[in-house]
Amino acid sequence: MAKGWSHLSVPLPIRVVGLLIVGLSLGLAFPKDALVKNLYTSGTYFPRTIVTFAALFIFFLLAAATAKLILFHKDRAGKMFSLILTIYISMGAISLLYTTAWLAVLSDVPFSLPGQKSAGAGAWVMQVGHTFTHVLSQQPLLQALVGAMLIGWTCASISSLLPVAYGFISAGDMILKFFKKLLWYYPIMIGCLAIGIPMKFGLKGVALYGKGVLWVMIVTCVWVVLMIITARIFTKRTWKQILSYYGAVWPTGFGTGGSYDTLAINIISAEQDLGLDEDVAEVSIVFGTVLNKNCSTMSVLIVTIIAAKMLGIPISMSEILMLIPPVIILGLESPGIPGGAGFFMAPIIAVVLNVPDEAVWITTFVSLFSGLIPMFSTAGNTTDDGMVGALLQDCFPRLIGRTKDVVPARAAHA
């Protein structure tokens, strides 16, 4: 990020928002201009290329993430490992159920589509199971997803297969380096894709994008308030500690739009403001940076509904519920780069929803999952990491090897 456009010292999220506005304006003002149409088409090449290589990228990223967790963190984190993993996966599931409840209030999406019979809970589980079995046996992306977790875990656990795990880690790192080198292009691509929203869908498209941003803002900000209240009730952190932490980390996450870029300030603030012990802060926040994208997954569900409405694809709450398990898994491997969740989750969602034109779905999804949406998502993701650390330290002291129930920073603040 030290080259190219960053010489202009304009932060990446500002460039994204700026070019998004330029793209929307161009699409509104010149919807039939050949040059503007070509600009839009140029923006579709990169996402379509990602679709071509999606199974390969998802496989290496998830296999690498799984192998890294086993190899590099298990011993260091000790008993914390399984506890943190459980907390983050549970939080991911709760976040998505919470978002689904919000969507039932905010959107007019029916529970089931006309012509579909309203099934009972057992029948619904059977339907989900049948759909996943069918999709898993037919779809390369989901095969890559499940295969990556299994082989990443196996190779990191068996010493004779460690070279394979190292290969996955190296390949995963190379893919992430490649994407980070292309971050300068991300705002340009978003600007080009944004042209398509008003060009293809008119003012209705722009209004739907605005509605998506508003829903993401409401859902993630209420979630943050709930997390603050939960932390105050269930941990020994003071209001001052919690609010100081949020005051430092939330704006940083919002400004960077990427959890990786927020990592340093997150760890420092968790220790200094939130008063977590150094090892608890480091383990919970490093793990969270890798594993926890719960607010991004909330935004993914919201953008799914907005994209479906924009493209005229019928969607129901039962399909949204069906998306929850794969989105939780994808949340564990989504790279912490701005808008990364959109790139890597869109193809899988297209498969699960069985959309008629996958490429159109992905370009629409990526252009919608931009601007303010990843910024609100990252702000929520990163602050949740600190709250998980607080829960670990104060609610599970014995499980993480604390014999004494000590909260030094609180004492210092008092």
């Binding site: 199974a55 190292y166 880690i169 190296s170 912490g336």
Partner: protein, 67 residues
């Protein structure tokens, strides 16, 4: 020789992960789908693993988390 064979297998396995999905992506690369067959992804994963094993890779340096 083992290393070269490992690289070739890793590339073949990578191809097998890309080819079934190629139909849905970039128009210029759709021709890759012609060579797809059922179960190709899972076989490709195993071939990549064999390739990496033959390459006998060493542990990469652990720095900051990359996700």
């Amino acid at each position: 020789m083992r290393r070269i064979l490992g690289i070739i297998l890793a590339l073949v396995g990578s191809w097998m992960l890309v080819s079934p999905q190629a139909l849905l992506g970039l128009a210029q690369l759709k021709w890759m789908y012609k060579y797809a067959f059922p179960g190709e992804v899972l076989i490709g994963i195993v071939i990549i693993a064999i390739g990496f094993k033959l390459m006998d890779l060493k542990a990469p340096k652990v720095g900051k988390p990359s996700h």
